[in-house]
């Protein structure tokens, strides 16, 4: 089974597609077979980042049942070992995916015959996005160092957390816990998933343990994009610390990705950034993040400098 990374995050324009595309290239360069899946349904542009036009196949073939096997809808990219499944030719209404179709896509992705899958998700916290995020082994949340972006990222993390929490509660039939909290808060709306956990902890310690264990399986990775000089270098680490302290899941900060004017140029030129500008700090940062994702920095001696940097 392929190892799945989902690239998401609350806010738009933080560089999710940029990071998905470039990490895809970096992972492929590690000698692994990688499939990029554009799941920003209704707003697909991952293929543009990759400089691909005139894609003949994509997710639409799978959804309209003209192709049964999802892996047959993938198209090669300019990078060896790297393939893309685009949602370019899907209907304009594909953003409102039916539950059954969503489950079908998730199951098919799990069965893709490849080493890594990178899912490029859209902004926002709709159920589709959250469920694709939760279908991954590691969810990457991309944010930029502005309060607006941090706020939406936290919102996103909380939304994913709440979704996961509800899944667990449903599976283990203690839905009453959610209701209880609902009644407790002033307006009957659950504002924070933390409240639910607290409530279960108070009322049912035995189940709380199970809940804690299940939530502990959830793995978030954080990436800070557009890092500018003279900024707090440890911002990402601090967010990681707070998340690990207040949620029961595992959070890991993967690193800062330096801001670079040329990112804009590469997108205008419709070329993958790491291929067009390989010798920039930004490319090095992306490489380091890719290595961290696959745990390569553990053995690779060339990565001494990354450890020092972090």
């Amino acid at each position: 089974m392929a190892h799945i990374f989902a690239v998401g995050g609350g806010k738009g324009g933080t560089g999710k597609s940029f990071i998905a595309a470039n990490l895809g290239v970096m992972l492929a360069r590690q000698g692994k077979k990688v499939v990029l899946v554009d799941l920003d349904l209704g707003a697909p542009n991952l293929h543009t980042m990759m400089g691909l036009t005139n894609l003949k196949t994509g997710l639409s073939n799978f959804l309209n049942k003209s192709v049964k096997n999802l892996s047959l809808t993938s198209a090669p990219t300019k990078t060896p070992n790297l393939y893309i499944i685009s949602s370019l030719r899907c209907s304009l209404e594909v953003g409102n995916l039916f539950y059954a179709q969503k489950q079908k896509i998730i199951r098919a992705i799990w069965q893709l015959p490849t080493d890594y899958v990178v899912l490029d998700l859209g902004a926002g916290t709709t159920y589709n996005t959250l469920d694709f995020f939760l279908a991954s082994h590691q969810g990457l949340s991309v944010f930029t160092p502005e309060p607006t972006s941090i706020q939406n990222t936290v919102q996103f993390i909380k939304a994913v957390y709440l979704r996961k929490l509800k899944h667990i509660l449903k599976q283990h039939a203690f839905a009453t816990a959610v209701k209880e909290v609902g009644y407790e808060s002033d307006d009957g709306v659950v504002r924070s998933p933390l409240d639910i956990v607290d409530s279960v902890m108070r009322s049912d310690p035995a189940r709380a343990k199970l809940l804690q264990k299940e939530l502990g399986k959830l793995r978030f990775k954080l990436i800070l994009n557009q890092y500018r000089k003279h900024m707090d270098v440890t911002l990402g680490n601090k967010i990681e610390k707070v998340c690990n302290r207040h949620f029961y899941s595992q959070f890991q900060f993967l690193g800062n990705i330096a801001y670079n004017e040329r990112v804009y140029e590469s997108i205008i030129a419709r070329k993958v950034f790491v291929a067009k500008y390989p010798y920039t700090p930004t490319s090095t940062d992306l490489k380091n993040v890719a290595n961290k994702m696959t745990g390569r920095n553990v053995q690779a001696p060339t990565l001494k400098e990354t450890n020092a940097k972090v």
Partner: protein, 217 residues
């Protein structure tokens, strides 16, 4: 928020229970950069009430730990509640501020140690006696002392932190580049102490010699 409520003062700051005041201050500053009012992290994570609640706890923790008396009482309470191991309190491995101008750079410290050992191991009695018996002591005499041990002028710099150019001027009686007498005396003292000869005699002899050279030239 429950998770935060369960933390003791030390856990809030993420410091060991034998932390020094310096460490506490540093950790406090760090914690404020996360939970403080102008932190984007706190702003995104917590509601205003939650944030205030957390900040109150942080302030309480800091004011307790930084006050020696209050801290002792608090520690006693933790020990009494069996929350901490009392033996950890007495462990001494505290971090203190690094001086801005440290004379002992990490690598320098190691070099300095080996040089001092070499000087100690060498029998310098004869050379020392020969020098001290003189009325006027020249830079050459000092140089001889150094060469008998077999160390370089750069090694001397590592131990004494006197710049190489000044050390050279001292050894060559180059009074044109020598510093003023006040400083020179201190440098000579350091030089003499390193080789364990009487500093007073060396300073007097050296200055006498220097004046003599100045007079003749």
């Amino acid at each position: 928020m429950r998770k935060f409520e369960e933390l003791n003062h030390y856990q809030i700051f993420g410091i060991p229970i034998n932390a020094s005041a310096f460490e506490i201050r540093q950790a406090y500053k760090e914690t404020l950069s996360i939970y403080g009012n102008d932190s984007p992290i706190s702003y995104s994570f917590f509601t205003e009430e939650e944030s205030k609640e957390i900040l109150d706890r942080v302030e309480e923790a800091f004011s307790t730990l930084i006050d020696q008396e209050k801290r002792e009482l608090y520690d006693k309470m933790l020990v009494h509640d069996k929350k901490i191991d009392p033996s950890d309190l007495t462990k001494k491995k505290q971090k203190v501020p690094t001086p801005l101008f440290s004379s002992k750079t990490p690598s320098g410290a190691a070099i300095s140690k080996t040089i001092k050992k070499r000087i100690k191991d060498k029998d310098l009695k004869k050379t020392k006696e020969a020098i001290l018996s003189k009325d006027m002591i020249s830079g050459d005499d000092l140089k001889q002392l150094r060469q008998t041990v077999g160390i370089k002028i750069e090694d001397l710099f590592e131990v004494t932190r006197i710049t190489v150019s000044i050390l050279e001027a001292i050894e060559n009686d180059n009074f044109g580049t020598l510093p003023s007498t006040v400083y020179l005396k201190n440098f000579l003292k350091a030089y003499a102490k390193l080789f364990e000869v009487d500093p007073k005699k060396i300073i007097d002899g050296y200055l006498k010699n220097l004046n003599h050279i100045k007079g003749t030239s």
